[in-house]
């Protein structure tokens, strides 16, 4: 079976930067997987997500999603990709419902279907009672949940999650992870970046560790733990592979 996402020899060098941030990055994500894309700060995770989102260009390499070249079919593929950025990307002066109607409308979802999905997702993420409140007045956890709903509103085939649970309480984190697993069970493939190794170990079906712009280890969490000596969890594997030296 062809992978849903395939990245080959991806290279990216920022202007005025000494080293390339992506240096021949190659990995693939199969349909239905939850791929944990892990790495220290500056390793190239966010750059990869930005390239996949279409926010920045890349210098060399090839990216295909659902068997189609991303550069050639950007407009078409955007409809099948859901993005949940690390920072909250919403209109703070608008209500949750207004935000969702706007983002859903841009995805071209028919009004009748959109209204149903908004009601379903707000209920699923425990935001039904706050749907007419301005996002500005939401707590951090509520904002994260709305931020996630925007990314899954159009039922994407591939969901890019850039640290979706950073800075929120355990309850909100639990709701997000549970619902992402539910979404995955319906067939959505997830590319997930995080610094939370415990969460990645529990949540991901496959993990790729990136450092200095290329994948240095890949496999299921159990495989990686099993083949790394003296390590009984993903965090120790990660530290052994990437070192304890500060990166920023």
């Amino acid at each position: 079976m062809a992978p849903l996402l395939c990245i080959e020899n991806l290279t990216k060098r920022y202007k005025h930067a000494g080293h390339p941030v992506l240096n021949g990055l190659s990995f693939s994500v199969n349909s239905g997987e939850i791929y944990g894309f892990l790495g220290p700060n500056g390793a190239g995770k966010s750059t990869t997500v930005k390239i996949l989102s279409g926010l920045i260009s890349y210098d060399q390499g090839n990216i295909s999603i659902m068997g189609k070249n991303l550069t050639d079919h950007r407009k078409e593929l955007n409809k099948h990709i859901g993005i949940v950025p690390q920072d909250i990307a919403l209109f703070p002066t608008l209500t949750a419902t207004e935000n969702l109607k706007i983002f859903g409308g841009i995805y071209g979802i028919e009004n009748r279907i959109l209204n149903k999905r908004i009601a379903y997702l707000l209920n699923l993420f425990g935001l039904e009672d706050h749907k007419n409140k301005k996002v500005d007045y939401y707590s951090g956890g509520m904002k994260r949940r709305i931020n996630l709903i925007v990314g899954i509103l159009h039922e994407p085939n591939l969901l890019l999650l850039d640290e979706p649970t950073v800075g929120i309480d355990v309850q909100s984190k639990n709701v997000i992870i549970e619902n992402l697993q539910l979404l995955n069970s319906y067939g959505t493939t997830i590319l997930y970046t995080s610094h939370n190794m415990e969460e990645a170990q529990q949540f991901c079906t496959k993990v790729g560790i990136i450092d200095e712009g290329k994948i240095i280890a890949e496999g299921t969490p159990d495989e990686l733990i099993g083949k790394t000596a003296d390590c009984d969890n993903l965090e120790l594997v990660y530290l052994k592979l990437t070192g304890k030296k500060l990166r920023d």
């Binding site: 989102s53 926010l55 920045i56 260009s57 407009k75 990307a89 841009i106």
Partner: protein
Amino acid sequence: MRVLLTLLYKDFLLLIRDKAGLILLFVMPMALVLIMTSMQDGVMSADKNTDISLLVLNEDCDSIGNTMEKELKESDVFSTHLAKNIGKEMTEQKIKDLVAKGKYLVGIYIPQNTTKKFTDNFTNELRDSFTGKNNDSSVSDSIFIKVFIDPTVKPSVQATLKSNINEFCMKIQNKYSLAIISRTLEKFSGNRIQNLNLTDCQGLTIEEYNVGKNNTKNLCPNAVQHNVPAWTLFAIFFIVISLSGNIIKEREDGSFNRIMTMPCTFAHYLLSKVLLYLFVCILQFLVILGMGMWFFPLINLDPFVIQGSFYGLLFVIIFAAFAAIGFGTAISAIATSQQQASVFGAVSVVILAAIGGIWVPTFAMPNFLKILSNISPLNWALDASYSVILRKSSVIDVLPECFYLLSFGIICFSIAIFYKNLKYR
């Protein structure tokens, strides 16, 4: 189409939730039009009652003095007070002091025997002309009607006052000169001659015509005709603060990037901004226009009248709005923060407005500023507006200015796209 409509809905919601922005877009220009028009109304309209307080002391108490008192009293230009009605004993020095203290803007002192001296002088001069004699001894002293003006009055207003008072004096002098000539002619001819009255004859009369289409720089609009289009254009260009602020806010809160990851192009995004702010600009124009047409007459200001076509003016406004929206978009692309955009936007618009003739019409500017005004898009738009309002120009006549505005807008949008692509790399 669905994407564009959704973006329009989003921009509309963001705009109406921004109360401070709405005040800036609508209330501020309305207040500016009202204040500036009221302030400039007296200065720019020669035929308006400017309420210049004037005190007259008539010590002549004869024909010339009395006529002068009467004419000044009936004048629309001055609010005339007669010294004899004040109740205190007035002298030349007292009048001078009252004007110096600012109690009156102008004081006029008509000395004793003005009528007698004028009659004697003129009669003798006339008799000498008829008889061919030159009798210097028969001429009495010169007559001085003294005019005192408050030193705080601006030189331009002083000049207007002097001109008005001179006109009064000449009128009265002519009237009495003609009466003396009539009497002298009667004496020489032996026939009964009625007093000559030039006011009834077909003398030299100045007829003014406002000629349209050409020579834009010599047009002198009144306060209403100047301020309504001028401050409408200022308001239109002031949207750069709201527009650039909104764009940068979306960039800062990440929603712009999120939209760009969706099936939406930058062209969609810009088009939505253009359409919404074009609507805002047209609404600003209609509100200020309505104010000029219907509210101004209620507060004793001239009504705003468009000599040419309303659609011609609307055409100019649409192009001015396009230029303003482009300018705001370019500022938002270059600026790195909302503060930077609002400061740069406000200062640049104020400078462009100042040199563009929004505050002071370009015809009243020094030459070098007149030349400099040609680089301001506000000046192109204002010139085109004047053409429609005062010169009955058609849409075709204002096409050159509209072309400049369109080009300015296109250049600004190109800058915004260039900067966006730069960030994409």
